[in-house]
Symmetry: C2
Subunit: 164 residues, 2 copies
């Protein structure tokens, strides 16, 4: 391949900085426990997240009902529910913007014609699979470094870690 080969960074399945930060912040809260609130800045420092940016994300998590906050002296954030009842999928959904039907086009509304007709079930299958994985893994699982066996098994295929 030539030197001019531009590395296109656009992707099929992309976890945004927002979603990544949101999950990591939630994991810090899960690790801290339900009775010790963490300040936004402490989380930002611990995970290397821009602190003002994180504040906005924590606001989303609060409005999404995943987190509760307390202002003033000994304030901070804590999880609104037990860490083993919050799936990673929930955190991503809440942080990554409007979840219900983006751009007004939901998969069932797409119309494919000709040899592309079977594309829709394929996209649906991929989506279902991603949701299944991220929906079964909880904050408690990740914070305790104990992923479910079926997920671990997927990740330990050596080829899974290679490019591209």
């Amino acid at each position: 391949m030539g030197t001019g080969a531009a590395v296109r960074d656009n992707l099929g399945m992309r976890i945004s900085a927002r979603a990544d930060y949101a999950v990591r912040a939630a994991l810090e809260l899960a690790a801290a426990g339900d009775d010790t609130p963490l300040k936004a800045e402490a989380i930002a420092d611990a995970q290397g997240i821009p602190h003002k940016f994180l504040e906005g994300i924590l606001g989303d998590l609060r409005r999404g009902g995943l987190v509760v906050s307390q202002r003033g002296g000994k304030g901070g954030y804590r999880l609104a529910r037990p860490a083993d009842s919050i799936a990673i999928a929930e955190v991503i959904r809440v942080a990554d913007g409007p979840l219900v039907s983006v751009r007004g086009v939901r998969p069932p509304d797409l119309s494919y014609i000709g040899p592309a007709e079977s594309l829709l079930p394929l996209w649906i299958a991929v989506r279902a699979n991603v949701r299944k994985i991220l929906g079964e893994v909880t904050l408690a699982d990740v914070a305790a470094a104990k992923l479910p066996d079926d997920v671990l098994h997927l990740a330990d295929d050596p080829e899974a870690w290679t490019n591209p």
Copy 2:
């Protein structure tokens, strides 16, 4: 609209217009067979894709070795290899870059600390899963509307089609 709309689900899983168009164009070529080249404009008409935009995409597919082209009178594009040897994943990667990334970075290049340490194997598992599905389904499968059974079964889950 309709056919050209990008598909984005609530988990950050997004198929760009580029990737969608690329796959559909490749499917037209698969359906046309190996001996009858299709002109860019014919593909664009058949699938409702802006024709100048499609030209650029077909160029990527050619440079990626998936397609061969012929100029002049009876020219056009055809697949460089048999349709049952080209996976959907390949087409998307060539047209749109890596399949999965976090914050624009490929999972193996990420470094997580503290309670977020196990996030990496999780992203890897998700990526492995997407690659498994899109890597096992070929252009021939979709063009013939014959998806592998395990993939079909995934799309059957009624919950897969619902919103949040």
